[in-house]
Amino acid sequence: MAHAGAPLPINVRGILLAGTTLMEWGTEKQQQRFLAPILSGEELWCQGFSEPEAGSDLSALKTRAVRDGDEWVVTGQKVWTSMAQFSRRCMLVARTDRESARHRGLTCFALDMHSPGVTVPPLRQITGEPEFSELFLEEARMPDADVVGPVGGGWKVALTTLANERSGLGFYNQVEMRNNLDRLIAELRDSNQLSDPLIQAELAELHVRTEILRLTAYRVLASVEKYGQPGPEGSLTKWMWSETNQRLTQFATEALGVATLAKSDFWSYELLRSRGNTIEGGTAEILKNIVAERVLGLPKGR
């Protein structure tokens, strides 16, 4: 799909994040209830993880869910919730045990976004688009049947979602980046700049990086198919993509000149949008920590 230049499916978060997580952790009933409307696009999903005081340090989250009979009452605030304003369901992580430390007292829920007490003010990004929102929860009620995975086991469920986010989106992103690089080469050809050795050298660098990302994405895929999990290279694709995509959009605007500053220009949007690449879905710095600690086995530090 990405090759053909198609946009991401409208329900990419439902398919890639909620769907895969429900397939691993959901009850049979939940799978029957949720999976079909995810595939048909009838029910869009968003991901209620980040909070104002819990971003990279997700386990510090404060949104609380308290059991009340066969219901849960949830109160708190989420932020940077992509597509929340259009979503019917939210994969929500909340603290259900105040006594347990950090990641132990968390639980995942499939929150109905139409419940009373759920409000979603959109947040406008640097691109001008409100791709994501704040999400306020004021005593919103969720049935017990919408708990995903074990009560108190939300951290593991959330890790499943995050791993699918990094590997799955990475695969789409590398193809999209190739499309954008090809587009840049075509535009530079049209403006007779391809014979400039400085332009050539940078295009070569971008080409090699894009190829390596593609090959690495295939290595990850082969490893997941064969061994059930990616090797060390699995931690690298999101990082490779974010760094290279920023380099690509910056170079495109430098090489193509001031015309790219026009709001209507393809590259002005890409330039602004790409700034978030090293933050969204796990910051580059956190990914480096993960590589250092979990792949290379270096001692944990702060």
């Binding site: 090759h3 070569a204 082969a222 290279e233 590589v291």
Partner: protein
Amino acid sequence: MHFDFNDEQRAIREAANGLLQQRSPVGRIAEAVEAGADDEALWQEMTELGWAGIALPEELDGQGLAMVELCLLLEEQGATLSRTPLLPSACAGRLLLHGGDDAQRQRWLPKLAAGQTRGGFGRLGDGNALVAGAAGADLVTLASERTGLLLEVGQEPLEASETIDPLRSYGHTAPCGQILGCDVPRGIQEAAICGAAELLGVARFCLETTVEYVKDRRQFGVPVGSFQAIGHKCAEMLYRVESARAAVYYGAWAADAAPEQLPRPPQSPSTLPLRARSRSLARRSRPTAESASPGKRTSTIGSSALRSTRSFSAARPTTALGSAS
């Protein structure tokens, strides 16, 4: 589609790793470097195992395997910094296999495959050519992007050259010899991939020893590897090593399965490990051996385009930059 090794290739890699780790501990490398000579006992063992001819055809007394298997051996050799003629002999073998005519191939390749004969390898440029693996070489292949020469070394060995690479012997010669008239570009392409495979191993060595060291070395009461300033640098080393690995494995695979997909002339697979390695070296706290690449880096854009492969059906063929400029 599986971008991964088969069981036989895994077995080869494990066997090579086992042998080299055992035979080539750091102390022995230091000895070979000090002596300025190849590790003859190890080379003997390697040739008995058929490594010298692993990627040469069976009718020329080789093992009949191909570039992927050869590159696995070269990576493992690089990862232990073993001092043997494996790489220059392999490069000479690739040049002869593709660039030589029948007579040249029949005359030299069975001997190279058996390891009785050693090959040297050098780049043709202006003036004299620097030849890697010069000491003890019976034949030397010299090549530029399109021209190849075969120099038979008689009684007189090449004049030795001192370089900063303690892991190989070097010499120099005037550019002379018999013309290699066949597919020289393919030979030099494969030689570049071989060099990159060994450098990938060297980069891996740097990463592995650095990680080991920063877990051990303590300052301020903790291992220095617990500092993010160090941890992030190590993570970046892994990033570069894995990037090089993807390019090298792809290059080796494409050389066997889809040679027309490789750029002509090649450069891309060898530049990345070089860069990864030099960064890895720069990050190491202790000084280490530096080895030079048999190939010279150039920055022409056409040469650095790695093209995509048809077997990756999901992937669209990428633009060949070279045709545009």
